[in-house]
Homo-oligomer: 362 residues x 4
């Protein structure tokens, strides 16, 4: 049951990096939503490898087909199944991985748990698995936008020690997509790209932090005490490959302030709405959205698969070394942006439908 | 459905800070486990306020009663209901809160969501709600210990900018409980206590970081792709009151390393087991436990309720100020330690029973 | 996880027939509903044994306490915990059951599954477990009534081969409660009571059929393809002790008709609503309520515990005989009526909140 | 969330009768099970229309493709996605249904709930939806057989008033498949076939009862109090199209006996096992399997779509008449046999894995 996420806008993903295909079934989508494969494809293209010199060069067409749940361009309220075929050009690059466990990858733990694994390209543990999430996230975004005008914008906040200056209150998708590293601070983006390119040439990899903001989230979303909005967001993004940390609002830095410095004082705005002067809470108080922007950050470790030689063991228990063959992905951060956005959209859409019901929201 | 956590060792908590009582129903506990109210009480006493000068002075007896699921000292496999009565000495300290929303507290969002709230002492959003979690966690810990020898030890790693030096591989419960701040670095603990006491006198509050380690976790726990162990741990601790961030293993700091620096190389130990030289993964790879120690960190913000005057609004939409009356809790960190341990125990026990089934584990 | 029912109006029951008490936690109840222990008690009193000469003479006060979720007479939207204390007058009547398995009771299977059981009065498998369901059902009924004017009326349709004539379109609670057997056909009720009394004197037991109708159910409740309304109703009532069969609408008898005889033709009523001329569908088509009365029937077998001697075995594997001591319950049907009503209310309320959301329904 | 069934062997189905395809995702399948598309296809072929003169003549190839979760002929423990393409030969037979609601079909309720429907051939409410269930059931059967030697055999017990004589203790798949009506009583089968053929020529339809037995079910499966085995079985089969009633063991007929006649007395068999002399309980006591054969019966109403003219209404609220065009399915019973078997296998497999865990069962 580990492959289902959400309760009201519920997705179930399937597929390995090699095999018939990757996909998702979305259960609970409101009826009568206009949706096309083209719109979903646009998000998948952002997630796709091989977009630029700084991402993994694996060429994946990732063409999305709608199998069910849509009739004459509109959702039926029935399950929407989306399928992306794999193009099984099985490379000899993977042969060594049939025998050797990649350090800090999931090879060894899958073998320990299941006693079997699809060693071609990581199988189910491949980042390719996120295709289903991103496709479903595209639909979640559209619902959130149509029902409540919610805007979700993610971006690369930091690569290794290079941190961009970004205003979450105003940043736009256009600014993010203006460069290949998806950091809307142009100067910093330039340095990030150079760093990634250098690390790529060294056969190594680097990580960083994605920040993601949701604006115009309706007050009242989130359910105490376990399904608090930040708890569901944390689960969502910490289930992404390579994520190592999660923050909401002030996060770890907030622990350096006193309560009187940290608390968000209330005021009444011109429209008579209760607002907060600051937003260290990150848009959530007591697990429930307060109407301010929801801001999260996710730490991604450097990619595990590198071309530098490392000490490892074989499936049969012998010590050996491994240096990954072929080209590799030196930094997952640019592609992680649409993944984080998708998880945020899935969580918010799930809580929106929990709040309002599936059939009455549109 | 937001008050249930876990699937196989499933807890449902109930209760507000004022009213009949606080409690939990545990569904899925293995049969034939020896358990007594005394054992559960021991964990509740660690969570209880009023233990020392640096915690909230509210005196709560928090006496635990087993209502069901135990027969002649052993679990039946049926739901275990635990109840802690409230002692409703309703203080006039709360009267002001009927009208005024405390900044950065859940008062305003509960009102927005439900159109009603129990304003006495925070109601359902009170940290008192965690009694049910800690009580259930005591049973989860015992199962984990009996079935697999799992040890869970949490401790205060940092208070504001005071950080202790602790070795997660060897730290013991006795070292943690040796001082009232629950930091097993005695020198640092001394300074932490002084700082908290000073902040308390100022009517302010401070936050920090709890670190928690689980040793001897069986390989194979955790289910890709959404119910990864780190995802469930993140959800668990991010549902605790006042938590703002979560890390596993290297966490945010790990993003400053390259892949070749960060990866955990494998070797074969003397027993023929696959092990990792380092543990930046924090005991989990691909969402599945690899047998190394699982290490998490949780950021807790400074407590929202302070005696310093702050700007706020009333439930009827007027701007005003609020300075909490009576004594307050200057730092939740020492009491957060058993809460984090409980959530970690609940997640691991849930995955243990998912792996082995309820009835065959003991 | 077997002790939770429903998703949006979700109940978790706990308790054995002997021990601290029996209860339920209700998660998802809409906020601001006026509710009192007195209202819940009224339903519990209908379920209670010892009401008349034809039910089990066990005297149970079954006094209900609200532990949480209600503040100043209104629901908070937080979990509502209800507790009914057991009055542990442990009778020597049960001593023999510590050793001997009652035929067609759950003693042997609980022992096989859990390796332990509370043999006093049936433990968790006792009909006393249904207290939690009936208490929660009382709240579900109130929500259904307030939100949509739904009326749920159950009654004894048949005892052994004595079948009453009842019109589900018009039958009222008052007619049902007018006699101790809860059959709103007075003549038939008279004969049923005589039959039960005779069977009681013989130390034997008899079963029958409960019919239950829900009127004014909003069109559109029910979710294809697995959570069809009739599927959830079937699960609900088939989880009641002693139930052996379930029917919706025409049921098994409908299989004797041809399609042209069985189909419910449509027409437009004076209000312009689509209606059906007949109601063999029982108010549900394709798993979704069509606005007509929902009619179900549940078969209950004769009570397993009887005073007549029967062949059985001991827990240690020896053949023996057993004749239950003390007085017994010759017919569960009258008390099963509020149980079936409760399950129907729980299912309909769950689907109502699924359709409309928790917080906006009132 | 209505399109997911089961918790541990969890299936999510998708697809309408017209559109891209029909399929299922199975989450929780044990790893290292040998499985091929050919084995699954064999079960699909039993479910397929057009097998004989007495079923619907719609020609469906229903060719099954495994998209994921299987590697080199063995399951990976990851989700198994199965897809059957639709062959969209959209017939003009359906044109009238775009406007007119078929009596006792789901057309009107889907429209009421979703405000939209795929009117081609019934869309999601078509019996074609059961392809996903039957495909998943084929895998569930194989697991049950390999792990515990469980045998599941379903058959037509009754068509209208023609009832076969069948011994559930000994009936075999071969006997069932020996005739096109799937009734293992050859004489009765002959009369059933004649009756169906006659009704077909009249443009009408008939229903009946499917009986299904599971032998060698391990003691201890089933979880009180809501997830009792009979409750989950009831939900499973009552979610099948056209089902109107469910029985376990003695069912409704059992209500005509006294307790002393109905109870299953215990004895010790030659192997020292606790057994029951009779099996009116139908293999389940207290919601838990007792090791005897599990026997259920399901009532299926006559098919709603008939060629005889009937009174109905249009989507725009006008009264009219409808006589379905083209050939129709006069009796769903023969094809319902593999559907009931599949639901029984899914429930039993879910409880088997709940009992033993996913990864340790094979």
């Amino acid at each position: 049951m580990g492959n289902t996420f959400g309760h009201f806008f519920r997705i179930t993903t399937f597929g390995e990096s090699h095999g018939g295909g990757i996909g998702v079934v979305i259960d609970g989508c409101p009826p009568r939503l206009e949706i096309s494969a083209t719109e979903i494809q646009a998000e998948l293209d952002r997630r796709r490898p091989g977009q630029s010199k700084i991402t993994t060069p694996r060429k994946e067409a990732d063409s999305c087909e709608i199998l069910s749940g849509v009739f004459e361009g509109k959702t039926l309220g029935t399950p929407i199944a989306l399928l992306v075929r794999n193009q099984d050009t099985r490379s000899q690059d993977y042969d060594e991985m049939a025998e050797k466990f990649r350090p800090s990858h999931a090879d060894a733990t899958y073998e320990a748990k299941y006693g079997i694994r699809n060693w071609q390209g990581g199988g189910r543990s491949s980042a390719r698995e996120t295709i289903g999430r991103v496709a479903a996230g595209a639909i979640a975004k559209k619902i959130l936008s149509q029902v409540a005008g919610v805007e979700i914008v993610g971006y690369v906040k930091r690569i290794k020690d290079l941190e961009g200056v970004v205003d979450p209150a105003t940043v736009t998708l256009e600014q993010v997509e203006a460069n290949i590293v998806r950091c809307p601070d142009p100067d910093c983006a330039h340095r990030m790209i150079e760093l990634i390119d250098q690390v790529r040439r060294e056969g190594d990899s680097i990580g960083g932090v994605v920040e993601c903001v949701a604006r115009n989230v309706p007050k009242g979303l989130g359910v105490p005490v376990f399904d608090k909005l930040e708890a569901d967001l944390a689960k969502g993004v910490m289930s992404l490959p390579a994520s190592k940390g999660f923050e909401i609002g002030s996060g770890f830095a907030g622990t350096l302030l006193t309560g009187s410095e940290h608390n968000d004082e209330f005021y009444i705005d011109d429209a008579g709405e209760i607002r907060t002067v600051t937003n260290r809470s990150g848009g959530i108080q007591g697990g429930i959205a307060n109407g301010e922007a929801i801001i999260i950050r996710v730490a991604f470790k450097p990619t595990a698969t590198i071309r530098k030689e490392q000490r490892t063991v074989t499936a049969t228990g012998e010590e050996t070394t491994l240096a990954a063959k072929g080209r590799h992905d030196p930094c997952v951060l640019p592609r992680a942006v649409p993944m984080v956005e998708a998880m945020m959209a899935l969580v918010l859409c799930d809580h929106l439908l929990r709040h309002q019901g599936q059939c009455r929201v549109l």
